[in-house]
Symmetry: D2
Subunit: 345 residues, 4 copies
Amino acid sequence: MIKAAVLGATGYAGIELVRILSAHPDTELCVLGSHSFAGQNIKDVYENFDHILDMDCTELDLDKVKECDVAFTALPHGASKTVIPSLVELGIKVIDLSGDFRYDDVKVYEKWYGEPHSSPELLAESVYGLPELYRDRIKTARLIGNPGCYTTCSILGAVPLLKSGIAKTDNIIVDAKSGVTGAGRGLGLPYHFCECTENTKAYKVATHRHTSEIEQELSNAAGEEVLISFTPHLIPMKRGILSTIYVNLKRESSQAELQKIYEDFYKDEYFVRVKRAGKLPETKHVAGSNFTDIGVCYDERLKRAVVISALDNIGKGAASQAVQNMNILFGLDEKTGIKDAGFYL
Amino acid sequence: MIKAAVLGATGYAGIELVRILSAHPDTELCVLGSHSFAGQNIKDVYENFDHILDMDCTELDLDKVKECDVAFTALPHGASKTVIPSLVELGIKVIDLSGDFRYDDVKVYEKWYGEPHSSPELLAESVYGLPELYRDRIKTARLIGNPGCYTTCSILGAVPLLKSGIAKTDNIIVDAKSGVTGAGRGLGLPYHFCECTENTKAYKVATHRHTSEIEQELSNAAGEEVLISFTPHLIPMKRGILSTIYVNLKRESSQAELQKIYEDFYKDEYFVRVKRAGKLPETKHVAGSNFTDIGVCYDERLKRAVVISALDNIGKGAASQAVQNMNILFGLDEKTGIKDAGFYL
Amino acid sequence: MIKAAVLGATGYAGIELVRILSAHPDTELCVLGSHSFAGQNIKDVYENFDHILDMDCTELDLDKVKECDVAFTALPHGASKTVIPSLVELGIKVIDLSGDFRYDDVKVYEKWYGEPHSSPELLAESVYGLPELYRDRIKTARLIGNPGCYTTCSILGAVPLLKSGIAKTDNIIVDAKSGVTGAGRGLGLPYHFCECTENTKAYKVATHRHTSEIEQELSNAAGEEVLISFTPHLIPMKRGILSTIYVNLKRESSQAELQKIYEDFYKDEYFVRVKRAGKLPETKHVAGSNFTDIGVCYDERLKRAVVISALDNIGKGAASQAVQNMNILFGLDEKTGIKDAGFYL
Amino acid sequence: MIKAAVLGATGYAGIELVRILSAHPDTELCVLGSHSFAGQNIKDVYENFDHILDMDCTELDLDKVKECDVAFTALPHGASKTVIPSLVELGIKVIDLSGDFRYDDVKVYEKWYGEPHSSPELLAESVYGLPELYRDRIKTARLIGNPGCYTTCSILGAVPLLKSGIAKTDNIIVDAKSGVTGAGRGLGLPYHFCECTENTKAYKVATHRHTSEIEQELSNAAGEEVLISFTPHLIPMKRGILSTIYVNLKRESSQAELQKIYEDFYKDEYFVRVKRAGKLPETKHVAGSNFTDIGVCYDERLKRAVVISALDNIGKGAASQAVQNMNILFGLDEKTGIKDAGFYL
């Protein structure tokens, strides 16, 4: 059994990790770290765990965590700064859900986060935890930067076009729509039910940090620098991200050609489902699962590709992708504990 | 492996059965019966099943079903009339999700359904599939009448008070609130998103058929005839039933005494969670699970008990309870495939 | 023009007052009091008011308010303590939306609010602002205690039966369902979108303060003390209250008789709509309006009445009822500014 | 008083017209045409109109309509074909909410609607009813093609950039998000509450008819042919459209310059509200109103403009814009009956 710690267990990504790991056949949950709910039993914080999991939340205590094989860190930005180096030093595999260890270039991090990185050497060593692109490197990593939710959705949606060489790299637009769990469990007027329901809005136009993470991976795929417009929107639903991606093409193409590019690219991937021509992803098809659904449309009139990709922001966009990374790290079948259909209803 | 047929697989209870059974370690899904979607692959009807389940839906074909060990019938009222007797005759265990096989007394059925029962002998033989009350009889049944959603919620909530002898049996009021999946997948103006969201209403006041089913079981528990007021309400959410049950008491009592009655009654039941004094059930604690959560309050002023019970109407109120019955029927651990926490978010 | 102050203008009841009064033909909005947003323009706090209303919110300043004819106080409990006596002394008509001035008997207030009343003489003088019951007294009041939302809904639903003499007064049950605006704009985990949507729960079972206010008015109607069970529930919608009221009857009755009791009782009331037999209220029929819809059902089997009443908790349950009271106080047509249909969609 | 007929009164745009016109001080509702509900009183079809409007719905009867001054036609595509020419011939002003009379060029209509136009002469005469662009021509029109919902939102959002000459005309992307009332009241599985809530999806990618209407007006504004990518999305809310519009610029610009372009362009328009720099539109700010809110952002990095515009799809996107057109046609103050703030909550 893999002994696992979830640090930041009572946020939305954290509790989804707890939900998955508590049912995972090869994992034993050993530490539930939570500053806000330290001393409380997890089943009193999330009452759906009554009869399932009977464990107290604790303040961070390295002595306890050091008996674990893996630590998932879903801590507020900053809180992880000192913790993660200590964990890595203790020889614990770390899968970090923050933005801190997702960058190839520390300067990009520092530009978008507006502060120096506290562990540039660890950043240099860390592996970007997107299995569909970096499976081999993940296997031997000590520290995995688990990708963001908008990021995973947008990268998986756009990369096949860029790798194929058919895409123009200027004028890529990613218009993304997210459910409210993406904003976390913290209180804030925009997330009050009465403010949030029956409402849609854009936010952080042209300035959202995930832009830099998407650009990094699209640039890697294209082999040249790619800059994108990225606009996140808040949608009145709990779970789900839908990215609508506009890509100009270097030449005329066809629905069949684009379809083939995607089907070939993902032919061995269980967790990416390419929709047949004429079908499109919907967030409810992926809610509660580790799947990313992708549909590609060729706009005959404009000779442009429009790609739609969907995933569950706290699933493949956070918790279940972290478990996928754990499975890879520990040599398990990659699908263990996360292979099922989402709940649809 | 238990070979299972789901007849009526594309309705909401049916597809929840498919979701659970497709992940159940001891079951093999062999037949997905669906009149509306016959000839279509289940993953095209519910696209969340892509990469999970690759099976065509079929018209009812007894030759195929007869190779199964168990059939779940989630058919429209009437459609099951001829099918179920044939299945039972073939020696297939039948778990029926309709109201047809839930009654001790055929006259009660005929009064509330307004028509003669088509198989009164089978009705007489059938077992009411509420494991918490009839586990032993379920073990050897050939035909199980799987309880309704409002019914399970209300019966599990009220029975301990009635069995204990402390409850007065007149003036029991059950005020129930249901999510919209309870109305099924069929189209109807009241279930149009724009009509349904931001709305609450009562319906079938004093005339809902589930009244009779609740009265039957409360009468059995009390050892005398119990008549109740039952009012169902439609709530703008997908899943969940919350029953608020008002029961007068024969004498003064206390929170502690009522608490003990419930804790004792359900002390060996995994799927019933009695809330501690001061805590109350919420539908999101049970959504996606097979749990029923129950809280009991003693109203000091009025010497009256108010019981709140909650379950997932397509989980413990339909599909996962049917699987619980299957587990019992086939000698499996009762929790197999349905033991996990619901999804909360 | 009636000069009006809204104190507590940026809460949900306050802003609904602002919305109604800004379109009211005989009213001029002069003061928008808001502690939290003092110094900010109302159109920056609620951006739907851009191009409509260009006024700064202010801290409470009696010098400004004293030039008004009427003050609506929608202040947090306690904040109104010192303000209201000052306003009354200044000769300003006060319509208070808190619970402070709704009681006939100061002892009842003190029992349910758990503290001494700060202005018992003013309480004695104040008038309960339910026009359908106290229209004449409202006309000459200096201080009106505007009824609560659950309260208005439940009282209007039950009073005809009690006044008619047909109702038994024990065993009255009021099971009420409220939208989330009822909890106000303050932040709290239960009102976070992700916690609140797809959820239903009861709260404050047997202890909610509105119980005492309903009991007061039902007792007045019955001419004897009436105690009730009152259970509030939180429903995932913004606006609306639905009360389901169970009343035993002293003798057999009929749908026609109950129907007549209600139709006669409300025959001159514009803002109460009695549903025809077989029709039932829904919250979306009243959302955004000052109407209360009431349906009465006779349960033939149990010889019991079940009454369903619905209103908009921040409309007839708060803001528009306050405007109705203002209209009466100032001799206007009672319907001025609040006569239209709600928005349904 | 202007005598008005609403033909197609029981659809969502129709009933919003009825709601507005029933409270409009200068209008008398004379005919409520509805094929589906002919013979039923409008207050039984939409129960929020009880005590407000007591009128039967009728089958189309030109003898009745001919006594009206204006007819609003909100009929299914095709049904209006024969009706509208007859109405125009009778001298009744017609405001048509279908797509039939919105085109400068009949060939564009025929290409996107896939059929010959039945009244090309009338199309040639008709005026595009977007007051902010065509106010003068609307004043004397006999037949107004009331713009579509996506269309109004996108055109008002993009036109200032195009008119100013700063916009490049290739690579304009309009990514739009709509509430579910946009799909009408007709039944369909995608609009079933349980399918629709907690879901987001794109539809009709690169093929939605509104594309052509937007292109027509952007071309008119630019003085050259403009082709756009337009992607509509279905969002789980009732009302509201948010368009996110990406426009490349011919040269470097600044937030201040873009801001000024919008503020100048709309400085005399009551119903268009340009957000201050740093503020963005949200659909709840406009729900229930005739306002369009627009925010413009300059992306420094990419030298690109991102414009967000929001309106209520059945308000400014249909019914209240039709009333705005009526007000202009009949020489009333353009704001009559539609000037108020939306309901926010």
